[in-house]
């Protein structure tokens, strides 16, 4: 047991001595011993972790007492012996190991000591060499400083010389500038290079201008450039310059720092002069504008298409070019942004438009519409290009011009149509007024009507065909709007026709203007009626086919409104016809009644001539109306209309509404009978609208005539023979007039009233025998 202990402690002692041999800081040396320590025993950590087992011979907490006690108490003798042997063996092995180790370590220590000693000797020698080196280095640096100090001056002078040389080179080029400039700026040479050169030299020259020599150079080059500028300007003013050269010229001048505003002006005026010249060339083709507007101007030399072509290729394209170069030249420069270009362009375009307008005005004939359309189309296309470039150049005025021209042409067509129609009417009037050679009838009213209406329709169709050109698909300005123009034309024409026709009826004929002949009224009434019935719808269908309606088109006047207008005109005309004819007959009757001495007249032997005349006239009217209007319905004895008229009359006196208090006058009314009779007869409206047939027209005329007769007779006082004359006349009228009237009772009733009134107005009412009356009438 003790040996084991000793071995352990011996090891420790060995280590301790080793460390004492080293540098003396014990902890530094402990670390390499780690593996050895691990080999001999558990590390402190292990020892701490393991439960202290005092019986473990290899453990750090080995307690020989505890071990021994344990062994003695546990083991048997045999085991004890074997353990003792084992322990003895182990101890011996350990001893020998320790001796080996000791030996090895001693050798190493010896060699280390030798090495250290050797090192001490070597270092001493090296120190001396280092001192040597240091002194050498100091010597070297001293001599180097000396050398550089000696060289510095020369180096500076060299650099100075190099600078002077560069400067001199520059100076030389500066001196050369005027010469070069002169060479390049010479007429016909390359002014652009001169400019380039000048631009480079200018800044330097300007900088050193306080030096006299430089100033001389600057002045010289200045004068050269001024000369150049002068020349350029002169060139600028040259009329033969084309726009491209002009642009170059101005560009160079701009580089010469000429004032841009002035240049701008110059440029524009120059270009303006050129454009003006072009315009003047165009204008030269136009005849001198002639305020009196006499129509004697010769037809223009070239057609409108040619004119527009030339105008747009020369003027418009040049203007475009000009605008573009102006933009590129003066964009962003002061004095260019004030809309000068726009103003300039708009004055020119305005003038151009004026010219074009004048040219268009020359197209006053109805000549070739297709040519006009093409010309306008081309003009419009070019204008659109211009519009894109110069939105403010008054180009919209051009669009308006196109639209106006188109519209004007249409308006001209309308006027032509109108004059044509009026011309036709004039012909008709003449035909009506022309004295007919006896035995040969002039053209009848139906023929006149047919001629009139067919020629008008033909003309209208022709005009529509022309107008169609305007709406052709490939025409650019077709979209310009207002292509309700065809519709507008048709509608306006029909409207105008109705209005004109109406005008014949409405014109206050009694106040001056010569009245239209009645036959014309009749003819126009028929024409309007035809229009209402068929022609309008035909025309509208035609227009519809030729001009497919556009969605955007303006609200089109529908056919019904036009028809109504035509019908209104027809009605008005026919009414007027009836009134005029009625008044003519009535006038005759009135004069005849007023001028006759009814008291002192002799016994009637004849129908008065005026009555025969009345019958003749009415017969003539019958023929006239019969040529144009249908016969119409002659009413049977109890016709609808008479019943209707009567019911209207009686309802107004319905007992429920009014309770008239009728105060009877004392003596029985002498003509009560006739009053009662009247109660049951219809009320006759004398000047009432007529229907579109012969019977109605004639009834109207007869009513007016007879009512006049009635009123006139009532204003006179008659003698016996006067009454008899009225009797004869009345009978005669009845004989011949009943067949014209729609309802013969109307004639009968009115004539009865005439007779009754005459009897009342007679001082000595002795009627003539009826047979005698008949006899006289038949004889007449």
């Amino acid at each position: 047991m003790a040996e084991v202990e000793a071995a352990g402690s011996g090891t420790e002692t060995g280590g301790g001595s080793e460390s004492g041999n080293a540098t003396g800081s014990g902890s530094g040396w402990r670390r390499p011993h780690g593996p050895l320590q691990r080999y001999y025993g558990p590390s402190a950590a292990e020892a701490a972790e393991a439960t202290p087992d005092p019986a473990d011979i290899n453990g750090p907490h080995f307690d020989p007492e505890v071990f021994l006690t344990k062994v003695r108490s546990e083991c048997r003798l045999g085991e004890l012996l074997s353990r003792e042997a084992t322990l003895g063996r182990e101890i011996r092995a350990l001893d020998s190991d320790m001796q080996t180790l000791l030996y090895e370590n001693y050798n190493k220590f010896i060699s280390a000591t030798d090495t250290i000693r050797k090192m001490k000797v070597d270092f001493r020698r090296m120190e001396a060499e280092m001192d040597d080196l240091a002194s050498n280095m100091a010597a070297i640096s001293a001599s180097s400083a000396r050398v550089s100090a000696a060289l510095q001056d020369r180096h500076r002078r060299g650099a100075q010389l190099a600078g002077v040389q560069a400067l001199l080179r520059k100076l030389q080029s500066l001196v050369e500038v005027p010469g070069r400039l002169r060479r390049w700026a010479a007429p016909g040479a390359d002014p652009a290079r001169a400019l380039h050169c000048y631009a480079r030299a200018r800044a330097v020259l300007r900088h050193y201008r306080h030096l006299p020599s430089f100033r001389a150079i600057e002045d010289e080059s200045h004068s050269i450039m001024a000369e150049l500028a002068q020349r350029l300007r002169a060139r600028l003013r040259d009329d033969t310059l084309d726009p491209k050269e002009l642009t170059e010229c101005v560009e160079m001048l701009l580089q010469l720092e000429e004032p841009p505003e002035e240049l701008c002006e110059e440029f524009l005026s120059q270009a303006g002069a050129r454009l003006e010249a072009e315009l003047a060339a165009l204008e030269a083709e136009l005849p001198p504008s002639d305020p009196s507007g006499t129509a004697s101007t010769p037809p223009p030399a070239s057609d409108i298409l040619d004119f527009v072509d030339r105008g747009s290729s020369a003027f418009v394209s040049n203007l475009c070019l000009l605008a573009a170069s102006y933009r590129s030249l003066f964009e962003g420069r002061p004095g260019s942004g004030d809309g000068r270009l726009e103003a300039f362009a708009s004055t020119l375009t305005t003038r151009y438009f004026e010219l074009l307008e004048r040219r268009l005005a020359l197209e006053r004939g109805l000549g070739d519409t297709s040519l006009l359309v093409r010309a306008l189309d081309r003009f419009h296309r070019r204008l659109r290009a211009l519009l894109e470039l110069l939105p403010a150049a008054g180009a919209e005025a051009g669009a308006a011009l196109v639209a106006r021209a188109a519209r004007e042409r249409v308006a001209r067509y309308l006027r032509a149509l109108q004059t044509f129609f009026l011309g036709c009417l004039g012909d008709v009037r003449q035909a009506l007024a022309a004295p007919r050679p006896p035995g040969k009838d002039g053209p009848g009213l139906p023929d006149l009507l047919a001629t009139l209406s067919s020629s008008v329709l033909g003309q209208l169709k022709a005009v529509l065909a022309y107008v169609q050109l305007f709406t052709a698909r490939d025409v650019a300005f077709a979209s310009l709007g207002g292509l309700g123009i065809a519709w507008g034309l048709v509608v306006a024409f029909v409207r105008w026709l109705c209005r004109t026709a109406r005008g014949f009826a409405d014109s206050p004929a009694e106040r001056g203007a010569p009245a239209a002949p009645p036959a014309l009224l009749l003819l126009l009434a028929r024409l309007c009626l035809d229009y209402e019935a068929t022609t309008i719808s035909y025309i509208l269908t035609l227009t519809d086919e030729q001009f497919p309606p556009e969605d955007t088109g303006p609200a089109v006047t529908p056919g019904p409104a036009l028809c109504a207008e035509a019908r209104g005109a027809a009605q008005r005309l026919l009414d007027h016809y009836v009134q005029v004819q009625g008044a003519a007959v009535a006038q005759m009757l009135r004069k005849s009644v007023e001028t006759r001495d009814w008291l002192g007249t002799v016994e009637p032997r004849n129908v008065r001539a005026v009555m025969k005349r009345v019958v003749e006239d009415i017969t003539a009217i019958d023929v006239q109306v019969g040529q144009l209007f249908e016969e119409g319905v002659r009413r049977a004895q109890s016709s609808d209309s008479s019943r209707r008229a009567f019911s209207v009359y009686s309802s107004s006196r319905a007992p429920g509404r009014y309770a008239p208090s009728y105060t009877p006058s004392a003596p029985m009314d002498t003509h009560l009978l006739s009053n009662i009779q009247k109660l049951f007869s219809e009320r006759i409206d004398i000047f009432s609208p007529v229907e579109f047939n012969k019977v109605s027209v004639l009834t109207g005329i007869i009513k007016i005539s007879l009512k006049t007769l009635l009123e006139c007779v009532r204003l006179r006082t008659l003698g016996r023979f006067g009454l008899q004359q009225v009797q004869v006349d009345g009978h005669y009228l009845q004989l011949y007039l009943w067949r014209f009237a729609a309802d013969e009772r109307v004639v009968q009733g009115l004539l009865d009233e005439v007779a009754a009134s005459a009897a009342h107005r007679c001082l000595d009412p002795v009627p003539m025998e009826h047979s005698v009356v008949e006899l006289i009438c038949e004889r007449g």
Binding site: Y658, S661, S665, D685
Partner: protein, 387 residues
């Protein structure tokens, strides 16, 4: 509604002449002259009792001839003038005379019709208007607003101005003027203007309307071709001094400004035959009455050319707030010319229409068959004008 019903009175003779009793401003009274060649002619004095809707009549004999025109003195209720036909030696002459009716009839005696018919009274002749040198009398006009001393008569182509002297028993021709021209000119009708101190008259011959100054007896204006055919009647606007209405055989009624006669101010075409009579209402000149031989009487409202184109003006201080509002509303209403009513009570030609001199809302019309109809302006319109 019942009040608006027309009142009809029948004469036994045919009649053309009608006049209100101009000097009477309280009672509604009309004078009608008959036309009969074979019986004694009469003047019917027709009193209308507005409250009871009853007509009272008195008949005066007018034995000298049939009456073509009648007019009442503006100053004396009992005095009237007639134009009548006298037949002698196979000739018809139209004369004129001034008459006085019996005193008790002046203010209307309310006897029962039966009594009065038994003892018809006769007119007292005051004086003849001697026309032997001048031709047939067409009409007699009293000086409006005058003292009943001055009358003008139209005889063929002469205008005769008479002074009535010695209580109207003597008529002295104070001045005259003749219309010269081609053909046989004859005045058909005339009217004395109430304006300009009663110094103007207007006459119609054929299609022409002429204005005359009564002081110089000279023509002052002339509307040639005023109508397409004969001009039948005229009337002056009582409130607008230059406005004149005319009517004629072209079925039209035209309104003229005599200062500018090239064009009529307005034209009405409502009748279907000759218009024989046109009358302005005395108080409300937008109301125009026309009578025509189409047997109709038409009452028109010509607001736009009346003296009250914007409705009845009320003084501001008379208005309470409420009324003011009402007034404003009324002004906003569009005032349009329109036909108010067409009266169809007649069955023969209407030759005369007249407003009552006492009641501005009442008028009479006379047709040839002797039927006199008294009508009122529709109540709604009356209130519209008044309020």
């Amino acid at each position: 509604m019942e009040d608006d019903a027309p009142v009809i009175y029948g004469l036994e003779f045919q009649a053309r002449a009608l006049t209100p009793q101009t000097a009477e401003t309280d009672a509604i009274r009309f004078l009608v002259g008959t036309q009969s060649l074979r019986y004694d002619n009469q003047i019917h004095i027709i009193d209308f009792d507005d409250e009871n809707n009853i007509i009272n009549k008195n008949v005066l004999l007018h034995q000298v001839g049939e009456i073509w025109h009648i007019s009442a003195s503006p100053a004396d209720k009992g005095v009237l003038a007639t134009c009548y036909n006298k037949t002698s030696d196979g000739k018809v002459v139209t004369c004129a005379a001034v008459w006085r009716m019996p005193k008790e009839l002046e203010s209307g005696s309310h006897e029962s019709p039966d009594d009065s018919s038994s003892n018809t009274q006769t007119l007292e002749l005051l004086c003849h208007l001697d026309n032997t040198a001048h031709g047939n009398m067409a009409c007699v006009m009293w000086e409006p607003m005058g003292d009943g001393k001055k009358i003008i008569s139209l005889a063929d182509n002469n205008i005769l101005l008479w002074d009535l002297q010695e209580s109207s028993t003597k008529a002295v021709l104070s001045s005259s003027s003749a219309l010269e021209g081609k053909g046989q000119l004859r005045f058909t009708s005339g009217r004395w203007s109430p304006h300009h101190n009663c110094t103007q008259i207007a006459t119609a011959n054929d299609t022409t309307v002429r204005g005359w100054d009564t002081r110089s007896m000279r023509q002052i204006y002339s509307i040639e071709n005023a109508h397409g055919q004969l001009v039948r009647d005229l009337d002056f606007n009582p409130n607008k001094q230059y406005y004149l209405a005319s009517c004629g055989d072209d079925c039209k009624v035209k309104f003229w400004d005599t200062r500018n006669v090239t064009e009529p101010v307005k034209t009405l075409e409502e009748h279907s035959h000759w218009v024989w009579n046109v009358r302005y209402n005395h108080s409300h000149d937008q109301l125009i009455l026309t009578g025509s031989s189409d047997s109709r009487v038409i009452l028109s409202n010509m607001v736009s050319i009346s003296s009250e184109p914007f409705g009845h003006m009320v003084d501001d201080d008379e208005l309470s707030d409420q009324e003011e509002q009402h007034q404003e509303e009324k002004i906003k209403e569009p005032l349009q010319d329109s036909v108010i009513a067409t009266y169809e009570e007649h069955e023969d030609s209407v030759y005369a229409v007249e407003w009552s001199s006492a009641d501005p809302w009442l008028f009479a019309s006379l047709s040839y068959d002797g039927r006199l109809v008294i009508n009122r302006v529709p109540r709604a319109l009356k209130y519209h004008i008044l309020l």
